[in-house]
């Protein structure tokens, strides 16, 4: 045998054989596909099956939340369950894919809810690729039945990540300014809710005016501006403990405090003696550093995700435009050169885009551009659209929109909206009262 293996014939044979194997996928026919569509993916979300009435109801609600989340992202199109040919199946059962392909469905979600005891339920799901006829991901969670909504958000995040590659953003919260009452006696309270508008809570009682809440990118903390006895103060509110800390009182006007990417500094603008400049405050030692020093109005600063750059808006060139500078305040350079005025720039979490508000010919716009000012795209417009905030994955923006005032002189309503960065799908986020100035949280820690 050994001699046979060493024989020249065998070597020749191996050579020819390996030659053929390597050429079985001859790369002389190699076709490049370099264009396609960026359209919502048709998916089917079957009601999660449940053993009993309560589990069944939870299963139906979970499927509904997942559907709302995925469709709201602008990346998925849910096929109506009325069109389903086959009834929902347990996630452990391989579906009959031919029941789903005629509906144009590319991905199918099946799931189940089982009662473990009076409080606990076991939720399981599986994501199927209907075209490749394979399962892509599955998960089983045992949770308190009252947490079913959060479970639905976690499952949505898993599905979103598996089908797009991006991290999800559904298990997150929004803090915003809840507005109510007449225009001349407006009550502005700090409020928080899930990103889909559920689990709404007020954080302040309205006894003082609150403005510009911003989430810490690293902790479940919020910074915001409050007017206490007409004096602007910057506070930090810890959502886990409910404790509130006063960072400082600032004479004159203070605007738009925002966390640094590491969460160790606050960047804001302060108005003093008719000029508004940008400052940072170190949260560990309260040290305040002035970054700009010009006779113009410099405001709305936002750090780049790596903390090395800052964008802000300024009228130093004659009209309100977006500028970029080093974190030290040096090398200031204008980046917006389109028509109109630009304001409230916010750097995306991934660093590739900057969201902004634009004003041109009595219309407001929400748009995005690259940090060098190129590639400007306008996503939303209205009588007043302002205050964009990024979802933690940098794919969705939330902002507030006000309709034109009604003739009777009363203020028109102000509402929160979100839109994906293709501009494909704009969705209103329902709040109990008017809402403005939203800020998106990072993913909630497990």
């Amino acid at each position: 045998m050994r001699n046979y293996l060493n024989s020249s014939f065998f070597k020749v044979l191996i050579f020819f054989y390996s030659f053929l194997i390597s050429n079985s996928f001859a790369d002389d026919v190699r076709i490049k596909i370099n264009s396609g569509q960026v359209e919502p993916l048709p998916i089917a979300i079957a009601d999660f099956t449940g053993g009993e009435g309560k589990a069944n109801e939870i299963g139906r609600q979970i499927a509904e939340v997942i559907s709302n989340n995925l469709v709201g992202s602008g990346q998925f199109k849910a096929v109506e369950s009325a069109a389903f040919i086959a009834p929902p199946t347990s996630p452990s059962v391989r579906p009959n894919f031919t029941d789903w392909t005629p509906l144009g469905i590319k991905a199918l979600i099946t799931g189940s809810v089982k009662n473990i005891n009076e409080q606990q339920v076991e939720v399981e799901f599986r994501l199927w690729d209907v075209i490749a006829e394979t399962d892509l991901i599955g998960l089983r969670l045992s949770v308190n039945e009252k947490s079913w909504r959060r479970v639905a958000h976690i499952i949505s995040d898993e599905i979103f990540e598996r089908l797009s590659g991006d991290s999800g953003y559904f298990d997150t919260r929004i803090v915003y300014v809840a507005e109510s009452g007449a225009q001349n006696k407006r009550l502005k309270r700090l409020a928080i809710m899930d990103q889909d508008g559920e689990n709404h809570q007020y954080l302040t009682d309205g006894s003082f005016l609150v403005l510009t809440p911003r989430f810490s990118p690293t902790t479940q903390e919020i910074t915001y501006l409050a007017y206490f006895k007409n004096e602007p103060r910057v506070y930090i509110f810890n959502l886990e403990t409910g404790e509130q800390e006063l960072l400082g009182s600032f004479p004159g006007m203070t605007f738009a405090p925002r966390f640094s990417p590491q969460g160790d500094k606050i960047i804001m603008s302060l108005a003093e003696k008719g000029v508004t400049d940008i400052y940072t405050m170190n949260l560990n030692n309260q040290e305040v550093v002035r970054l700009t020093n010009s006779p113009s109005i410099d405001t709305s600063p936002s750090f780049s995700p790596d903390g090395k750059k800052i964008i802000f808006n300024s009228d130093r060139g004659g009209s309100q435009q977006i500028y970029i500078m080093d974190a030290s305040g040096k090398n200031i350079k204008r980046i917006s050169y389109g028509q109109g005025r630009y304001a409230t720039p916010v750097w995306a979490p991934k660093g590739k885009l900057i969201a902004f508000t634009k004003m041109f010919k009595n219309t407001f716009y929400i748009g995005v551009m690259s940090p060098d000012g190129s590639g400007e795209r306008l996503l939303a417009k209205g009588y007043l659209v302002e205050g964009p905030t990024w979802a933690p994955n940098g794919r969705v923006l939330m902002y507030f929109k006000q309709d034109a005032p009604i003739d009777d002189g009363k203020s028109s309503s102000v509402n929160l909206y979100k839109i994906d960065i293709t501009g494909f799908r704009e969705t209103r986020v329902i709040t109990p009262s008017d809402g403005s100035d939203p800020a998106w949280s990072p993913l909630i820690p497990n």
Binding site: F16, I131, G165
Partner: protein, 176 residues
């Protein structure tokens, strides 16, 4: 008369018998001699047979390989390629997160003569396991190929598409 015949016949029969015996003996000897030669020849032939059979097999394989080379010499026109590209790209529905994928996604394709897809294999399994953006985008490419079955293969050139590669390049998705 009655005894004559046998007498007459006997010697002739004996002669014939003897001749038959002799020829039989000679035949046996010849057969033995021939079979002796045959054994020797068979041994030689067996050696040669082993070699020639392997050579024949190699030639057969080499012959096939030559045929493959000859087949690939059938030129595909730009129109042939464009027709397939335009067909498949209609089915490629990709997420804008594919802008994070900085390379082409190669798929190994096997088709039937009628253009129907027999199999799609994602080439870089390692990256498929490691990189979530690559994995999701490779899945969209696989769906595109399966959805686009049958492919509009150029007539007379179907053999060239028995095994071939698709390179999906998501770099057209920018600014997201």
């Amino acid at each position: 008369m009655g005894g004559f015949k046998p007498k007459c016949l006997q010697p002739e029969a004996e002669i014939i018998k003897n001749r038959q015996k002799e020829s039989l003996a000679k035949g046996i000897l010849n057969t033995l001699a021939k079979s002796q030669k045959k054994v020797e020849k068979n041994k030689k032939d067996k050696k040669e047979y082993n070699n020639t059979e392997i050579l024949k097999k190699i030639k057969k394989i080499a012959g096939n390989s030559n045929r493959q080379v000859q087949q690939t010499e059938i030129k595909l026109s730009i129109t042939d390629i464009n027709k397939i590209q335009n067909h498949v790209k209609k089915f490629w529905n990709v997420s804008y997160a594919a802008s994070e994928v900085k390379m082409v996604i190669t798929l190994k394709i096997r088709t039937s003569v009628d253009g129907s897809i027999k199999s799609v294999i994602i080439y870089d399994k390692n990256l498929y396991q490691k990189d979530k953006f690559y994995r999701a985008t490779a899945d969209t490419a696989r769906r595109a190929v399966l959805d686009s079955s049958p492919l509009p293969l150029p007539k007379g050139k179907e053999k060239k598409f028995e095994n071939f590669l698709f390179d999906f390049d998501p770099s057209f998705i920018t600014n997201y």
